[in-house]
Amino acid sequence: MLLLLNRIILVVFISLFSFSTSSEEVKSEFIKTKWSFEGIFGTFDRASLQRGYQVYQEVCSGCHSVQHLSYRNLSEKGGPEFSTEEAKAIAAQFEVEDGPNSDGEMFMRPGRLSDKFVKPYPNVEASTAANGGAYPPDMSVLAKARAGGADYIYSLLLGYEETPTGFELDDGVYYNKYMPGNKIKMSAPLSDGLVEYTDGTQATTKQMAKDVTNFLVWASEPHLESQHRMGFKAIIYLIILLTLVYMSKQKVWSRLGLKKEPEEETFDKVERAVTEYEGEDPKTFK
């Protein structure tokens, strides 16, 4: 009966995996990319982060904010590592509202390193209204806020295709292979040669998508590199500690005089004891 129960559970389990939900939606596997920041030793590609910032600045920042990044982050270790001068120059390109001054007035001044990234719209409502009723999400933690993370962002940017026949789209809505539901309000943001990279890299759509994805992952996790470094050290340390502690434990426990006997050995002992008691040739016992 129990065996039957086990079997039923097994069958049910297997059927679960073959069970598929039916809908018109085309669910595509994200494009899998080997990202430099993945893995235990993962680090960011500085040049790519710098180019990614350029793509963000020239293409995305018209609609998308990254409100939790500060300009100083651009020059910090583990990020794009612009020099402090470059970061200062970047910050100074933006007008930041400050105040109130001694007259009680708010005023505009050039950005400083300590300022947060300037937002394209003052609030969510304004950005929703300006973008046909769809709020362009803040991208500070975007890579952590979407299932699939970096692969999702990269795939989405490259996922614009001809609308399949029979798929209905409203005005101002675009077809994207990777968007849940395949409908997206953002038109294809990238096209070949859209930006002119300062480092001379060819600005193909793929290249830009890759760079800006790198940038967004860093924006979501600016301490990722030190996280990886510390993690590696901590775990190596613990493995060494474990070895030492385990050896000490074994030594301490040896005082108890517990000996683990293999089952066979125990059995032989019993056999011998019985034989002794019975006074017979042990061979016949088996």
Partner: protein, 428 residues
């Protein structure tokens, strides 16, 4: 405890100890007799204490930077992640610490179920444990609300709405819990306050849990009583301390692997989207450790029924010591219960899996079967097994080299029977 009266050596220590017997307590803890055959499944008590301390320490630091306000909570978490020195580390330890805490508590609970640690004379230890587990779930749930992400908000909506199912007073209770007519700032504030309070209650209960444990002493894998202060026991220090530390380091390695290399896999991506009362996520799911109960909740077609069954699934554990009527503690000597134990483990894992799936089609059917089985296990199978199961013979003592291996006795008898004919009694 049959311990000789402890008298500190120095005069000062005697003066102190006669007024506040902390030294006697420490002496008791060091010498506390533990069975020599405790295996690594017995190290999770220490691991759980470690988890609670880690949660309190990291939580107190996070509390210094967190802002419990609907307009600032999400932002303050990002402030912690980016600008507070090692804030990312503290937050990731705290967030993953909750998951590891539950992982450890599930192992601890199932160890108790396997070895019958809830049976007389340890019923109170078990009941206090169930209360701790309940408080843990409440604390974890409220903690998950604090970052004020989408899952925070909508998870809180689903769970607090459960109380509205109570007849007559349900709506009023929900309003009272919320501190208003919807989940808003007052809700967030009280959740923060309670999230800070409950761990200290848990701490108090853990002291009671250990106190109650130290009266009868540990159960053990063989499940028979050990003679205190005999050669079957060893002092807690250094023997169990060393074993606990060894296990704790292994546990910490796994813990830190999550913290440093996969800090977000156990969470839901939607919780990195700030709470928005106008946008409902497509699937609202709680954290993984609450999923089995979520599956039970949704398996019952009526809302009130779902709530009752969900709470019953936990409260049933409190009367477990009286549902399982078998006199034999350890499943090592209970061949049939042992199999049902593993079926229960699979059922709970299956319920967890189903809790993460939408309640429709095959998932719903399976959730209903699994829920029914969960209750049948406790309410029907355990009492019946206690009555009809033929248990294996128990050894005389845990140190008996032959008899503490369950299979051996049978083999021995079989061999003897072959040799002797059917009458084996002469061997006894």
């Amino acid at each position: 405890m049959s311990e000789e009266k402890y008298v500190p050596k120095s005069k000062l220590a005697q003066w102190f100890d006669s007024r506040l017997p902390l030294l006697t307590l420490s002496h008791h803890l060091k010498g506390y007799p533990t069975p020599k055959n405790l295996n690594y499944w017995w190290t999770f008590g220490g691991i759980l204490t470690f988890c609670l301390i880690i949660q309190i320490v990291t939580g107190v630091v996070l509390g210094m930077h967190y802002v419990a306000h609907t307009d600032h909570a999400f932002e303050s978490i990002e402030h912690i992640m980016r600008d507070v020195n090692y804030g990312w580390l503290i937050r990731y330890v705290h967030a993953n610490g909750a998951s590891m805490f539950f992982l450890a508590v599930y192992i601890h609970i199932f160890r108790g179920l396997f070895y019958g640690s809830y049976k007389a004379p340890r019923e109170l230890i078990w009941i206090i444990g169930v209360i701790i587990y309940l408080l843990m779930m409440a604390t974890a749930f409220m903690g998950y609300v604090l970052p004020w992400g989408q899952m925070s908000f909508w998870g809180a909506t689903v769970i607090t709405n459960l109380f509205s199912a109570i007849p007559f007073v349900g709506e009023s209770i929900t309003t009272w819990l919320w501190g208003g007519y919807s989940i808003d700032n007052p809700t967030l504030n009280r959740f923060y306050s309670l999230h800070y309070l409950l761990p200290f209650l848990i701490f108090g209960l853990i002291i009671l849990h250990i106190w109650a444990l130290h009266i009868p002493g540990n159960n053990n894998p063989v499940g028979i009583d050990v003679k205190k202060n005999s050669n079957e026991t060893m002092p807690f220090h250094p023997y169990m301390v060393m074993k606990d530390i060894t296990a704790l380091i292994v546990f910490t390695i796994i813990f830190l692997w999550f913290v440093f290399f996969a800090p977000n896999v156990l969470g839901h991506p939607d919780n990195y989207i700030e709470a928005n009362p106008l946008v409902t996520p497509s699937h609202i799911v709680p954290e993984w450790y609450l999923l089995p109960f979520y599956a039970i909740l949704r398996a019952i077609p009526s809302k009130l029924g779902g709530v009752i069954f969900m709470f019953a699934s936990i409260f049933i554990l409190m009367i477990l010591p009286w549902l399982d009527t078998s006199k034999v503690r350890s499943s090592v000597f209970r061949p049939i219960y042992r199999k049902f134990f593993w079926v229960l483990v699979v059922t709970v894992i299956l319920l967890g899996y189903l809790g993460a799936k939408p309640p429709e089609g095959i998932y719903l059917i399976l959730a209903r079967i699994a829920t029914a089985y969960y209750f049948i296990h406790f309410l029907v199978l355990l009492p019946l097994l206690g009555r009809y199961e033929k248990t294996d013979p128990l050894p005389m003592s845990i140190s008996d080299p032959v008899l503490n291996k369950p299979g051996i006795m049978d083999k021995f008898k079989k061999a003897a029977a072959e040799y002797e004919g059917d009458d084996v009694t002469s061997f006894k």
